[in-house]
């Protein structure tokens, strides 16, 4: 596929967003207004700018990444607009900011490539852990950067200088930075970690001290789980770590021990943490405690059921009845208004995007880039799976965002940067 075809698809995605906004307006009984044009322009500016930056500084990058992400973003934006117009206009700003940061990233690494990421890995580790722990900053100290709690989870920081008030979930970025650290660390220690020298009967196990980082990762995720009460981020970080360790070494023992640690962690969390118990109870039978714990999941199921095959049509359903419909539960809104056709389409598009990511990883010759692309593709796929499975009651709900679709600046920025990294990797491998 050529760059020009990519550009055409991006225009198409912007048109889908604008058309969706127009439909929502009509369903609402309003006329076609400036929102339609504004949406088209913002979508075109952000993805078009991203596209031009790729042309300029990473011309060999995979042409599939942007169109797939753009169509998901378009559908997500239309649903956010349908649910909350105020949030939609903020989301447009975030789209521009996210694209600008992605462009800035491509610009910054235009000469050096991703080599600095590899070189300064301990800076990355430090930065990643710092970002993870940032929300634990006091809420009431004098320093303008404060942590705060929302919906029972402490994931947020808020920067307040005068009238300026910025909120951000640093964990979203930490995810990328830690993936880069792991790719760098593992590409170097790969041989040692894979060399299993300690015999145990027929099996050979790695030296115990080689497992230390794994235990550290487990402990870090547990801290996130307990102190920030964030099931999703905790699980995502731990799984990312295990997956990359496995990818680097090819040793199933890491998967197995990761599974055991996860199991142990899950049991401890379930037996001692009330917010985990609530999630599990709601998952087992949302209708048993319909009014309280089960309410949100039940509303999600009602939305999917009401959507049926073809959906109610944009703006014609009632997804506003689902708590947090613009963020965690955006997919239930898609299921209701676009029906099975739309929900399967979105799942498939995510699948393709993840596949493109893994394709980039598999074609990479350089270990660092291979691991980084694999890690990024994996974390994108797993995050998508976890939140969708939660919203659809396949698994207990873990409150994380749906990449590119959920309302929220942190999530958009992180996922645009993830795209830029994948684009850069694919460019470096082909150039």
């Amino acid at each position: 596929m050529t760059r020009n075809a990519e550009a055409a698809l991006l225009v198409g995605a912007a048109a889908v967003a604008a058309f969706g906004v127009a439909l929502v307006n009509l369903a609402r009984g309003d006329g076609i207004d400036a929102q339609v044009a504004l949406t088209f322009v913002v979508m075109l500016t952000s993805f078009g700018g991203f596209h031009l930056a790729v042309r300029q500084w990473s011309p060999e990058a995979s042409p599939f990444l942007l169109p797939l992400a753009a169509i998901i973003t378009a559908v997500g934006f239309v649903e956010v607009y349908r649910l909350d117009q105020g949030r939609a206009s903020l989301q447009r700003w975030w789209l521009l900011i996210a694209a600008l940061l992605a462009v800035a990233l491509l610009f910054t690494v235009r000469q050096t490539g991703l080599a600095p990421l590899r070189r300064y890995r301990y800076v990355l580790l430090l930065a990643g852990l710092l970002l993870l722990l940032l929300p634990l900053l006091p809420t009431d100290w004098a320093f303008p950067l404060r942590g705060f709690e929302q919906n029972g989870s402490r994931l947020w920081i808020r920067l307040e200088i005068g009238p300026l008030r910025l909120q951000f979930q640093p964990g979203e970025i930490a995810k990328l930075i830690l993936a880069a650290f792991l790719a760098s660390y593992l590409s170097e220690r790969q041989a040692v970690l894979a060399a299993h020298t300690r015999p145990l009967g027929r099996y050979r196990l790695p030296e115990l001290r080689q497992l230390a980082p794994l235990v550290i990762a487990w402990a870090a995720s547990f801290v996130v789980l307990v102190y920030q009460r964030d099931l999703g981020a905790s699980l995502l970080l731990f799984a990312l770590f295990i997956a990359m360790l496995y990818a680097a070494t090819g040793r199933a023992v890491y998967l197995a021990s990761g599974g055991v640690l996860f199991g142990a962690g899950a049991v401890i969390a379930w037996s001692s943490l009330s917010h985990v118990q609530r999630r599990v109870t709601a998952w087992l039978d949302p209708f048993a405690d319909f009014i309280d714990t089960g309410y949100q999941i039940a509303q999600s199921l009602f939305a999917f059921g009401s959507g049926s095959l073809s959906g109610s049509g944009l703006g014609l359903g009632a997804p506003d009845r689902i708590p947090n419909a613009t963020t965690d539960f955006i997919f239930a809104a898609v299921g209701e208004e676009l029906g099975l056709a739309g929900s399967v389409g979105i799942i498939a598009t995510f699948g393709l995007l993840v596949a493109v990511g893994f394709g980039i990883s598999l074609r990479s010759r350089d270990t660092f880039r291979k691991l980084l692309a694999g890690g990024l593709a994996f974390v994108l796929g797993l995050q998508t799976f976890l939140i969708l499975a939660g919203v659809m009651r396949l698994l207990p709900l873990t409150g994380i965002t749906l990449p590119f679709m959920s309302y929220g600046g942190s999530s958009l920025v992180a996922n645009f940067l993830l795209l830029a990294l994948l684009a850069r990797i694919s460019h470096e491998e082909r150039a």
């Binding site: 990818a247 099975l340 699948g351 593709a377 499975a389």
Partner: protein, 486 residues
Amino acid sequence: MNQPLRRLAAALFVAFALLILDVTYLQVIAGPRYRDDDRNPRVVASRTGKERGLILSSDEQVLAQSTADPDNPQRFNRSYPEGELYAHLVGFSSLNFGDEALELVYADDLRSKRDLTVSDLLSALLGGDLRPKSIQLTIDHALQQVAFTALGDQPGSVVAIRPHTGEVLAMVSRPSYDPNLFLGSEAIEVRQDLLVDPAEPLANRSTNRTYPPGSTFKVVVTAAAIESGAAGPDTLFPDPLELELPGTTEVIRNFDEQVCGNGSEVTLQTAFRRSCNTVFASLGLELGADVLSLQAEAFGFNQEIPFEIPVLTSVFPPPSAFANDLPALAQSAIGQRDVRATPLEMALVASAIANDGIIMEPTLVSRIFDPDGRVVSLNEPELLQRAVSPSTAAVISDLMERVVASGTGTRATVPNVRVAGKTGTAETGVGPPHVWFIGFAPVEQPTIALAVLVESGGEAGENATGGSVAAPIAQEILAYWVQSNG
């Protein structure tokens, strides 16, 4: 290194395949179950929030209306401007509890049919009107208010009917409740409180409660006597202080525990005027269960009364019940024992006498019209059944007029208006009596027939009689009606 990466990718694709299977299950296989679940807010919203038609009184007073929600113009809020005055008739259309009374019975006309259901679409294709229709009642708002006020805070009912058409002019049941509360945020608590309230404000006493009719039932017994030729107004009856019931030591006395006339003999006319139990008990025994039962049924007892809202059937026990129980027959002849009537039924008894012996089908809704004011359906008066011959009706009308002129019902007297009536004071065995007045006016050409019931004596308690408590209420209503419809 590619092998583990491929495995990770494969694992994710299996996971995504599971998502697609699950979403297919949710939207298609289990979809209808979730879609139609009663707790699904879409189901609830499809019942409410839509525009519904108006409900008006005959004099165009708005009793139920839908107004656009100020926060969301696509939603409509139902409200009942007259509140508890019409609660039992109009009912409500509630988010939590569905529809009630006329809101339920006429839901199909009142609701907007723009739901895009298959049947609505078909109807639209066939030229059907999808807009909500409005309904107009036969109730006269001013009369309803007068009746409501006249009954006051006493538990009871007033039913007023236009005798020659069957149109219900007023139908009041107290205590009442404010149907608007069923639409508010406190609906669940409000309903619970109303359900456990011992005063039973949710009950429609006019149609859904039966009471022993007491002496008002003497109208039926007298009708049976005249129709069967067994007695006329001037027929003489023995006038004992007390009547021994056959086969028992029980006796029936008159209300004041006195003789009815001079103590030897008394005419039926006097016995009716003074409501003497001894005479009617022995007349009932003389007529027999079959004759009484047939006459009661001719007046509408033991029959389903066709009406827009549900009506409990009034009961006169079958003749077999009296085969070995003549005391029961004697007591039934004075409207006690197991005889039970709704206020609506007793209003129909009065209307039959007022309308030359004919009962018209009672109606609450006069017409249904579309938003352009075009009448979609008009309720024409229909004959329900003949209760007595015109001549019998005329005789009883005369007897009833004497009750008001110089009998137990003098407190229903309206100056310069000929009023006919019959009082009733029904012993309940426990607590104060239920007191009644049934009647009509003006006698020469009746435009209103009514039944007034005050439960458990109302404010007068043990001392209450139909003549002292129910008759004055009827007087207010009749006086207002005749004056304003003179």
